[in-house]
């Protein structure tokens, strides 16, 4: 089975404090640590487990620039055989539909039995997988929590409300968006990264992909982020101050008063 996994490089929320920049129009990007989007990492692991069982290769693809090569290399160190960077100045500022347009152009030039994305990106909108499927006219399932390979089709479970699962049968080729927790992604060591450090990663531009530059990028984006701001959700908690002992006494007093301790 030939599997394509679409991945994205995102600021790592476990390694950074995401803060507003001074101008207030973006997050502070100085010294940000980036990594592969968590959902996408589960998708790559799932693809690797499928090819280990049924044969075939895993290819990882992303849209971006040179900086994004690091996550492609990381996913190759994990076990992906090939990686591709879709890169062109004309792609900058693409919205979800723009990214899906580029990915669909790449898929049309190659054949894949199965295409995986993460359910969403840290800085994304849970759109690209579903859009890509519609552009290719492939069937789609979101929030996938298990995959069983059958003959010419898959049996997949989807996460629905209350921890329940919706079981579906889906014809190949198809696009699935993968939910976290579907597997336990393998560890990638420094040695593995070193082994793929000098591999050439092909970069495809608009002309190679045969994409009209006017159909992607900022000018074609119907949806554009204008700024970031820090959300104000509620009145906010009363922050308990004082020495550790005072804070603990106060917590116990409050918990008692609210019936949490008899």
């Amino acid at each position: 089975m030939e599997i394509l996994v679409c991945v994205k490089r995102v600021p790592d929320t476990s390694e950074n404090e995401i803060e507003l920049n001074r101008a207030g129009n973006d997050i502070e990007r100085d010294d940000l640590v980036y990594s592969v989007n968590e959902w996408d990492n589960y998708a790559v692991e799932e693809a690797l487990q499928i090819v280990e069982k049924y044969g075939g290769d895993v290819t990882v693809v992303t849209v971006g620039g040179e900086d994004d090569e690091e996550i492609l290399r990381r996913q190759m160190a994990m076990g992906a055989k090939k990686s591709v960077l879709l890169s062109d100045a004309a792609f900058e500022g693409s919205d979800g539909a723009g990214i899906a347009t580029l990915l669909s152009a790449f898929v049309r030039k190659n054949h894949y039995d199965l295409i995986l994305t993460g359910v969403q990106a840290e800085d994304g909108a849970a759109q690209v997988g579903g859009m890509l499927a519609a552009m290719l006219d492939y069937p789609f399932a979101s929030l996938v929590t298990s995959i069983e390979v059958l003959n010419g089709k898959l049996k997949v479970s989807r996460e629905i409300e209350g921890g329940n699962k919706e079981m579906n049968e889906i014809d190949l080729p198809c696009v699935l968006s993968i939910q976290t927790g579907i597997n336990e992604p393998r560890y990638v060591g420094m040695r593995g990264i070193r082994q793929v450090a000098s591999l050439e990663i092909p970069a495809l531009d608009a002309s190679v992909l045969a994409v009209d530059p006017a159909s992607v990028g900022k000018s074609a984006a119907k949806v554009q982020r204008m700024d970031y701001f820090v959300p104000a959700l509620g009145k906010g908690a009363e922050i308990l101050g004082g020495s550790r002992e005072e804070v603990i006494d106060k917590v116990i007093e409050l918990v008692k008063a609210k019936g949490g301790l008899k």
């Binding site: 899906a100 789609f140 399932a141 701001f229 820090v230 922050i239 949490g260 301790l261």
Partner: protein, 326 residues
Amino acid sequence: MARIFAYITHKGGVPDDSAAEFLAAAKMIDPAAPPTAIVTGFGADLDAVSKTLQDTYGEIWKISHEALAYPNAELVRKALLAILPSASIVLLSHSHFGVDLAPGLSVKLKAAAASDVVAIEGLDGKFLKVVRQEFGGLMSAHVRCDLSTGAVISLRPGAFKPVDAAPARGTVVDKSSEIGALSARRRYLETVIAEVGDVDISKEAVLVGIGRGIQEEGNVAIAQELADALGGAVSCSRPVVDAKWLPRSRQVGSSGQTVKPKVYLACGISGSFQHLAGIKGSPFMVAINKNPKAPIFQVADAGIVADILEFLPELTTKIRETVKVK
């Protein structure tokens, strides 16, 4: 101004709560364009939901088809494409069904797609300004949506407070004959109900909820000791289950259990909306988190900025002493 439609899901003949939220959201887009409800399904359930919606919507488009008895996004998309006028604005819920339907629908309609919208700030010419969240709710963003070719806008469940709707006595329009044949390459098989775990967290009065801040499996015991001292149970947010440190039956949230404790200690939990959606009945919430900017502090009643791995054992020791003294 384009026409606004609200796609309403339903269960057992009862419309989803989002039906009232769509009315509020549509008003924020254009107070002069009351939305038209669209419902799909089959049989008595569909008739019942159409009837209920007549109280609040001026017009209800209904599509009845045996293949739509269970909502399959691929089939619903085909049905909607057959009836939606060009440049429509379609509102739907950012639920597991909306995540399936919205992206593909926007592609086929050649419309803008804004997902998981938490607020609508209004129209500015052909642009609609909405608010979304990124980074698990740590940041909000204003997003501009070009409505010239229509839009598919999915709304976060619960984000829009229902407004008092004038009684509508709506008309039901049967659109079933317009949709043609339906066949899908994805077929629904069955729904598997979640297993009940060793502890039923939905019935506990005191919950010690742990999140990513617990850092490793061996530290779960710290939370368990606190829960034991309080006479409660340990629950968790999604990352703890994804890491397989606790079973799924302990997960609180929209994809896990709904809980209604009296006291909820959120320990090392950032406070994503998916997690908060599982907490009902306004418990007294104490949040303990290293990061003073964690969204959980905005919804908790009391907050402590501390490392849970240090704080929880000290709290446990003190509670044990308190109980012993009595």
